[in-house]
């Protein structure tokens, strides 16, 4: 700016710039107004999205708990099934033992040809006859000869009874094992039901999560769309601000000149007023506090005191 402008010209220039800047600012305000609406909507979408995401997070935590519970129950079922398998094998083994012992017992019973009680009775009667009764020799010989045979039969019957008792005992054990198995089966069924419930609950949550995620994605999509809508406005704002900055830069020398003129004029005015006050003081006239302040600003008090 080489030309020297008058105060009036300077004022005019500055006013032109101010006017132009104000116009830009008004435009900016309009854009900001529109942007605010968009921002409000974006905030709403963000809030909706974040609320859903938070819900999804919480639901995931919940589902995780159910899944963990389900896995725990499934682990229990697995262990229970393993122990059931072992018990089943035991039952199978006992069954085999029973079958074997029964076959042996039946064979012994066939050889014994009579119950232990019956054979004992016969044996006791024979023994009594042989040892105490007066019977014909022929009969005695027959009884004696059958004594050995009867002893063998008795032994077989005793063995058969022993086996029978063992079989009964094994049957009792088998019954207990069966009860255990029934209990285990019932427990497995209950646990499976429990696991199924946990699984269902987790699935229900996942389906809620799906819906929420879709909604959240939709909100996010809208938010991005909104950002896209806001982008040209933000660009426009940036452009206008840049233009305002340029205008302010262009206006600044004029404004500075004008300020310089105003400053000089003020200084002259104060100088004039200070001279008047000095004259007052010289004439030993009363001065006001305001007058003193003017002198202080001018740094003229020392001058006066001298």
């Amino acid at each position: 700016m080489s030309e020297k402008l008058t105060e009036k010209e300077l004022k005019k220039k500055v006013e032109e710039y101010v006017h132009e800047i104000d116009a830009k600012k008004r435009k900016l305000a309009g854009i900001y107004q529109k942007l605010k609406v968009h921002r409000n909507e974006a905030d709403k979408y963000r809030l909706e999205r974040d609320t859903r995401n938070e819900k999804v997070r919480k639901l995931f935590e919940e589902a995780k708990t159910f899944r963990a519970e389900r896995d725990k129950v499934n682990e229990k079922i697995k262990k229970l099934k393993e122990s059931k398998k072992a018990v089943l094998q035991r039952a199978k083994d006992r069954g085999g033992v029973i079958k074997e012992k029964k076959s042996k017992r039946d064979e012994l019973n066939r050889e014994a040809r009579g119950t232990l009680e019956f054979l004992k009775k016969i044996h006791s009667e024979n023994l009594n006859t042989l040892l105490n009764e007066d019977v014909p020799l022929r009969h005695e010989i027959n009884l004696f000869n059958s004594f050995l045979e009867l002893k063998k039969r008795l032994k077989r019957a005793e063995e058969a009874n022993k086996l029978h008792s063992e079989i009964s005992h094994t049957y009792e054990n088998l019954k207990k094992i069966d009860e255990k198995l029934d209990k285990a089966t019932e427990e497995v069924r209950k646990l499976a039901e429990q696991a199924e419930n946990y699984h269902k609950k987790a699935l229900e949550i996942y389906s809620q999560v799906d819906v929420l995620k879709k909604e959240s994605d939709e909100q996010h999509r809208k938010l991005l769309e909104k950002y896209e809508q806001m982008k040209p406005m933000q660009n426009e704002i940036a452009n206008i601000n840049a233009e305002i900055k340029v205008l302010r830069e262009l206006m600044r020398p004029y404004h500075e000149q004008l300020e310089e003129i105003r400053k000089n004029r003020e200084e002259q005015r104060i100088e004039k007023k200070a001279s008047a006050i000095k004259e007052k003081l010289a004439g030993r006239k009363r001065v006001s506090l305001e007058d003193f302040r003017v002198l202080l600003e001018k740094n003229s008090l020392s001058e006066i005191s001298r």
């Binding site: 044996h123 023994l127 042989l130 040892l131 105490n132 014909p136 020799l137 005695e140 010989i141 004696f144």
Partner: protein, 124 residues
């Protein structure tokens, strides 16, 4: 129930027969002794009665019959004694005697059999 072995049983049977034999044998021997004494006395009495009859005949029919009187008196006295003795002896139950004889024989036979079986080791 007490377990009885074969040897033990054989010994038991033998002991049973020995006991039976002891029990029945005692009664049989008593009965048999009386029976034997009675038969002996009866036989003796029969001989004495024959002698008494002969002596009576000799005393009545012979010329010197007196010399047989003393002898007949002795025979009469002996007959009296034997008759008294016979009357003092208990009556014999013949059926019981026969039964006991059979029983004793049976147990002896049985004892013989079981002892032999024990010795043979058939029942050992």
């Amino acid at each position: 129930m007490k377990e009885v072995g074969e040897k033990e049983l054989l010994e038991g049977i033998i002991k049973k027969h020995e006991n039976f034999l002891k029990e029945y044998g005692k009664e049989f021997e008593q009965l048999d002794g009386v029976k034997h004494t009675r038969e002996e006395l009866k036989k003796k009495l029969s001989v004495l009665r024959e002698k008494q009859s002969q002596l009576e005949h000799w005393i009545n029919d012979s010329d010197n019959g007196e010399k047989f009187t003393e002898e007949k008196r002795k025979a009469d006295s002996e007959i009296n004694n034997i008759t008294t003795a016979l009357e003092g002896l208990p009556q014999i139950d013949e059926a019981r005697h026969r039964e006991l004889k059979g029983v004793v024989e049976k147990h002896k036979k049985a004892l013989e059999y079981w002892n032999e079986r024990k010795t043979d080791g058939k029942g050992a």
